[in-house]
Symmetry: D2
Subunit: 417 residues, 4 copies
């Protein structure tokens, strides 16, 4: 009658390379064999490695970030077969909990080198940097960014279903077209890449095919979710995902202790290994019932709450640093909003890199405010003042003035210029 402990549907070994663990994979492809089964309405634990598969260490140097091999990331747990699911169905993934491993109560946020990953502000902060975060129950703090501490909005960066062959071909078509036609002079998408491919327990033949055809895991994609990096897919949330193959092929990974809207430094969340607890229910013919083309979700009830009056909010517009006017460009506006916060917080003694890291991982609220008033898009970012152990409010600044104090340093590379 009494249910026993919750079943762990998939385990990982943190002391073994992720690439050698057959229950993981790092490509999206319909032919990757199922790693395990999760039955509808069953509650199950799933263990996950961190998104670098252990490449980043708990130390005070960013050399590991600088040298990280970005072909060896995003080792996902799964794919899981969900018995009874067929194309056209929807699976509803209720996240019942996400926890770090007790023996590894820490995570990291990193700025990647402009030539190895980059990030949203890589022209300003082109060199690798890192902050280690220690977990204390629901809270985290970092020796690399003193003066802040906050509750995590813990979530997986990646949840998705396996693509069908048709979906996969569409992904490859459109991303290839972007690569072939871009004039931006930078990497705009990652094509299929045989190097470092991990196709789970696939045979060599399948693995070779997965390497040749399999979609990379970096972007989220509308047809199945994937690496959406949506901070609100936290405890208690329910995500509805379309099913494209028989058995669904649900995969999950890239756990985040916390993340801000935008995840701006690329490896911007607090990345960690850990355990996610899910219950997956099956909605037969759900894609038609819900008219669904992309995932939808309901956030959970235990998101950290700050009163609205405690969210110091910055505005940005689509006029760039050089004073150039852009036409309703939300990306430019969001970047400007970030820069306004960086300028504001620098006055307290933080370095630009520290703030860049902080904005990536703290629970900031990034909104599209106005998108129709030509030529200026306007975005806002709300920064919860209560994550700081000193007063950052404008009133405080007026009353007490602002003094830059020693805020230490984030981790840098040994060859930093």
């Amino acid at each position: 009658m009494a249910p026993g402990p919750i079943r762990t549907a998939l385990k990982v070994d943190l002391n073994k390379p992720a690439s050698e663990q057959p229950q993981l994979h790092n490509r999206w492809h319909p032919d990757i064999p199922f790693a395990a089964i999760i039955n509808p309405n069953e509650t199950a634990h799933i263990q996950c490695v961190d998104w670098t598969g252990g490449q980043v260490k708990n130390d005070d140097s960013a050399d590991d970030v600088l040298n990280a091999d970005l072909t060896k990331i995003h080792y996902l747990s799964g794919p899981f077969e969900i018995p009874g699911s067929e194309p056209g169905d929807v699976i509803c993934v209720e996240i019942q909990d996400v926890q770090p491993f007790p023996e590894q109560p820490w995570g990291f946020t990193a700025v990647f080198d402009k030539n190895n990953g980059g990030g949203f502000l890589d022209d300003l902060y082109p060199q690798a940097a890192k902050a280690i975060w220690d977990f204390e129950g629901i809270f985290c703090s970092s020796r690399h960014i003193p003066g802040v501490r906050f509750p995590g909005l813990i979530h997986p960066g990646i949840m998705g279903t396996a693509p069908s062959r048709e979906v996969l071909e569409e992904w490859n078509r459109r991303e290839r077209e972007l690569i072939n036609t871009t004039t931006l002079g930078r990497t705009v998408a990652h094509p299929p890449e045989p190097k470092s491919v991990h196709a789970g327990a696939a045979t060599e033949e399948v693995k070779e095919r997965v390497g040749r055809e399999g979609a990379r895991t970096v972007p989220g994609r509308p047809e199945h979710g994937g690496n959406c990096d949506i901070k609100n897919l936290s405890r208690g949330s329910k995500t509805y995902l379309p099913v494209h193959i028989k058995g669904a092929g649900f995969s999950v990974g890239d756990l985040h202790f916390s993340q801000g809207d935008g995840e701006i430094s690329f490896c911007g969340a607090i990345e960690m290994a850990g355990v996610i607890t899910v219950k997956i229910s099956l909605m037969k013919n759900g894609m038609e019932i819900l008219g669904m083309k992309s995932p939808i979700f309901l956030p959970g009830p235990v998101e950290p709450q700050f009163g609205p009056g405690r969210m110091l909010t910055f505005e940005g517009f689509s006029v760039d640093d050089a004073g150039k006017q852009h036409y309703l460009d939300v990306n430019v506006a969001y970047r400007q909003t970030c820069l306004r916060i960086i300028e504001y917080l620098k006055r307290f003694g933080y370095s630009g890199e520290q703030i860049y890291l902080l904005l990536s991982c703290a629970p900031i609220q990034g909104h599209v405010a106005g998108i129709v008033d030509i030529p200026n898009a306007c975005t806002t970012i709300g920064l919860p003042m209560d994550i700081f152990d000193f007063d950052i409010s404008p009133e405080g600044a007026l009353k007490n003035g602002v003094k830059a104090v020693d805020m230490g340093s984030c981790a840098y590379t040994s060859n930093r210029k």
Copy 2:
């Protein structure tokens, strides 16, 4: 000892053309004479006309929208002199209340014709449409969009300080450059325009100069605020605005009963005439103290609250309707997110225009979720389920199915094709 009623610092006459009322203006220019004085720390009412200056009527035809003269909009109340303020200072505008006029308890949301204003989705919805909203205290509902009712997050679409001559020249320079260099084949910005200029109580000579040089009011701008259309500048909020001229020249207008993030249909808020109550405090040398380049604000404590689990949230990615992959383009992603909601809600019987109008004005939460996972930007929009008087949840759809019922119609033009 006892203070009397709160002073009304500026009145408007709703029965007279806005263009003939010298306490209003519709350009930003340092030479527009002050309309009145508001002393620091004084609480004052300011009356405002609606953003079309009364062109849109409470009826069931969108002909008024179709024919609206867009050179005759944004008649702002002010500019107000804030004694003691000088360039480099900051004024803090506390919004103590915003109310419609008791004798005019209604507002409107409109889709503008593609050739007369347009909007975020004007390729899909190119013709004018309109919804009238009736106010019932904190709530509003519309005979043109049955089945929904919500509390307003009432706010001004426009608050700003007068530009200095230098600031104005910079605006004109950069927007002119955009106009001169764009290849988009559409109006990308509005240059100074002598037609329908309203320079308040200015002399003819000054008025002529304002027409020639004065900045248009459509976009918000980083240096002073303006038409930011930020829904959270509601009751109880505090906005910090830079001062560029002696006396500040604070103006306000374009009151909204409610608006969603993005204000996507352009005239997307629930537009209304009414009264805003403000207290303005002065922060001497505030721009340096706060390191301020753009406005910052603290939201107020009485924003409508829906539990997080009641926000049905849709995801969108930078892959457009035609399946074309864009590079980290938040605008494309936000558009896709809107389209997902439109598809979802259509199944209940609403027309596309009804939903387009609804997304523009209901308190939807639009977030930048991920902006670094090449090539897909990801945005989310949370739709509060409790504004509907029927169950729109996925669970409800599963339990009861979805039936389209008669949802009436929004107001259309008489020559609609």
Copy 3:
């Protein structure tokens, strides 16, 4: 098509004694004639006098409180006939707004003399005291209690339906029994009282009967609501009230700009005259459908929000000031909780009376925490720290110490001992 301004269903004259206005009344009795009609689903404004009918003035003396005639209070607006309603039905009162009169933007909180009204702590604070609150939109502050300012949770202290003859007899029976049997040595209930009776537009004969039989308005009562003083019946709330007579006989009054849980100083809310806007819908046979014996309600969506981490919370137990142990007595525990806050806040310079007044009217959250752990009941009161313009947190006390500063004085009587 377009609805005009909202109808005012009942007006009051603030310059005329409430006792002379036939649309008011100060007893509960089925024979009081209807003052006006409000149709089901109609939105209507109702004007209300303050609960003392104008006896308390906006000045710096509490003599008016000391001398207030407590037989001349609670002049309610109504009773309103709700056409179609019959005994056994339920009316749902949606409060769409509550506002002070624009020409009277202030209210008062008072401690009544122990011999004229008293209050929860009248043994400690037996003499009359008063604080005047000025309204600034959604906010209020008081020259008598400096350093605090908060958004109002505005609501009516009294809403009820007319009793049937049977209900009225039951009230009189049970309250008379309490009066006849009490051993407390203090006034425990107010029996019917012919003095100062106001029966609206009743004939002399009816008025005489109402004086003889009519229930006093001081307590709320389970059968119909009445003077419940529930702070959460604010903007946007819906209250379901049982109907006992044909036409319902809905009355409302005793408007509060704000109140804390318990309303401990008796006249503890911020009392004001003003306007309440309601929509009343009719639920035929609702008492049976809802199994209703007492009112139920849904709070509104715009209650002031403070993050939970900003609510400094005090604990109290059923051990009284003299160290006497009481058995699971929540009243004793709640009193102790109040005393703990008074002690805490006194250290900053406030007088006991100032804090007593503040706890009565500020949005404090009073909870029954534990009621079964013999012999100690435990209650908690959460005090929002953000209503103070200085830091009252324990961390702040630790960091900066606590210094009592000059906090001025509340209003006292001229003969204060």
Copy 4:
């Protein structure tokens, strides 16, 4: 540099009687030896048994509840020495997390027999009953109360510091006086009791003294906290506790997965064994700095959030079931409020015992609304509608009617009459 896993400061053995584990104790007494040390600002795990020490089983009979030995409860973990703490200091206990043991993902709520513990409504529900709750991450549900599921507001029922000899004597004096003078004809307090005393690792001599003098753990007490059963002492909360002996002697236990305000069925929380993670900081001379007589706390930021409009709220008054009027008696009012909810929910098919259990453990909000309107105290209880998987709203009842469906049964005793 990198901290390792968090230290477990105290372990328990779930397979061994609590009475035989020297790191536990079940009395408050200054002479109980410290079980372990927790250093200031150290994060530490503390394991705890459930409050019955394992007497209640995960099955479908309430016989274990009926026969539970109430002298063998409340085995607390500790006391912990906090080095450096002295009488007059305050310790601040930050609760960083509370979790059930992974191998025991369930808890129980029980109604105790009127003659063995009883509860708030034991005259109506005099016989033992039980519900088992299964944990699914942050959620719980029960086979004994179908149709409900909610996120836990997980917390310890008991946290306290060791009493000094003087404090202990005061407790014994006042509780003895109550026992000696009560006329209630029921157990009103538990005096020191040598039977089943557990004094940790004390010598026989000390144990004998602790049995003779030691305070029982059932009630919370103002001087040190103890069994306060405050539901809001959850993840992220900070509780400030007075120190009465050198080393503080902090103890904790009685973990609850969830509890409603009042914990009305006595064993009303969802009782569980588990692990609490704390960080304790030391505030030297804190009692004077904070003017502290009783604990104060700040709730944590991740309390489950339901929108205010989703809290169906019931009112109760101090008129008892028999129609007797009581004088401002909050206990009577709270009881009536509970009864109103029981009546309301019974219509859906639940039994009285099921609802009694549910109100005890679900996150209901119990408020003291009005406490000064003689003779009626008024209390309210808010019930979150979203914990039900069907619509309990009045609107729903009106639209669809109310049908009682088969709601199964809670666990009863085998000899139930």
